[in-house]
Symmetry: C2
Subunit: 234 residues, 2 copies
DNA sequence: GTCTATACACGGATAGAC
DNA sequence: GTCTATCCGTGTATAGAC
């Protein structure tokens, strides 16, 4: 019933019994881990479709194929479950954010970041919706994540961008306005996919079409900030 | 208590009475009109803060300063009220959309449209949130608006943009990708204001700062599509 | 047109058997 | 760890007095 990670049992018994029993501690820990992961995935989908208030624990339980009480066994409250989904999402966001580091070429860095964000929108659109929904409604359940994790990261990116501008590698843009444009545009393809489908004549979901769109977005952003590679002549 | 439109009474009596009574029909019609407008404004705020499912008729009634039952007197169901809010929002969106027409200069047309959308984000951020929330959750309550009103408008804009590209006034961009970038970026300042405030150090709400941001966004978009005025030399 | 009181369903959370 | 049954608050919507 659970299509999660394969079981990693038979890892050697830790609690020596006379019975040839499997390692109980580990087995129990794995059950919890696997059940939590499964519930988190189902919760993400329901929160994306209906929002925090609109989602009910009954819906999440039904999608997970377990009774309602099991949800409360693994996560004490609906809010705790929601919070875990948000933390999970931040980790994924943070991995994509790291593609921004590691190069001093603004075209490569910004273009790569846009691609990573587009890929995230394609791979995990439900998560993007949960995130967007939370911010639209005030972000009270992720204020600490924004303040302690996202803000420091953004501040370093602003420094890097301002440096590129000072060295003539970028047009004189407002760094934050640029970052917001990248976020808004890339996440639009996940969050507003219902509108895109309604306006685009049903397509925009095929892999090929999405890759073409990604290229378009990269070009738009690169042109928007007037990026030029460091080794290019002026 | 109601801070809506001023009463337009004393418009001449229609039902001749011996009493010097005011025109009853008109007076009643005005009461309804005014009460509906007031409820719509309060509903927009609550829907923006909590989403459709999260909003309760009790909250809307409380904000409007009326008993819960009055809400159901003017709007039969919560969904009917929500639907009216969405229709109202579309009308406002449509007015801003019209700034795109009327000129053949892509810099003026696109720049003006971006300004109009930014102004809409500043003037009615709650409405933008309701709209975004609805689309994120599947847009089932506004599928007809998207299909019959937004899509035809977008299609004509795509034609105009493609024509500009053919005449060398714009870089070879995907017209829809450009429009989505404009929508996403401008609406970001309304929908994600909680995040912007969390990341920007409290500001970004003053009138001056918003105008500066608007100029930045206009410049970013104009550069993104490589717009050139028709009378400019190459 | 406005209000109080209420019907009735659903939601989150818990108790306690297995 | 899993399940059934249930408590209790809240939500939408309505009845009916004023």
């Amino acid at each position: 019933m659970r299509d999660d990670k394969p079981v990693e049992e038979a890892a050697g018994s830790e609690t020596p019994h006379d019975e040839a029993s499997p390692p109980l501690r580990r087995r129990k820990a794995h059950i919890r881990e696997s059940a939590e992961a499964h519930l988190l995935a189902c919760a993400e989908a329901v929160f994306a479709e209906r929002g925090f208030e609109g989602a009910s624990t009954a819906m999440i339980a039904e999608r997970a194929g377990v009774p309602k009480a099991n949800v409360h066994y693994y996560f004490p409250t609906k809010l705790a479950l929601y919070r875990r989904v948000l933390e999970d999402l931040f980790e994924d966001w943070h991995r994509a954010a790291n593609t921004f580091e590691g190069t001093d070429d603004p075209v490569a860095a910004i273009g790569g970041y846009v691609r990573a964000k587009m890929e995230l929108s394609r791979r995990r659109p439900l998560g993007s919706k949960v995130w967007a929904n939370e911010i639209i409604h005030g972000a009270e359940h992720m204020a600490d994540i924004l303040e302690q994790r996202v803000k420091p990261w953004l501040d370093t990116r602003v420094t890097v961008i301002d440096d590129w501008i000072a060295r003539g590698l970028l047009a004189d843009v407002d760094a934050k306005a640029l970052m917001y444009m990248i976020w808004a545009t890339t996440q639009h393809y996940a969050d507003f996919d219902a509108q895109i489908r309604a306006l685009g004549g049903k397509r925009a979901l095929s892999q090929k079409a999405f890759e073409a769109t990604t290229d378009e977005v990269v070009q738009l952003v690169i042109r928007a900030c007037g990026a030029r590679s460091p080794d290019e002549d002026r």
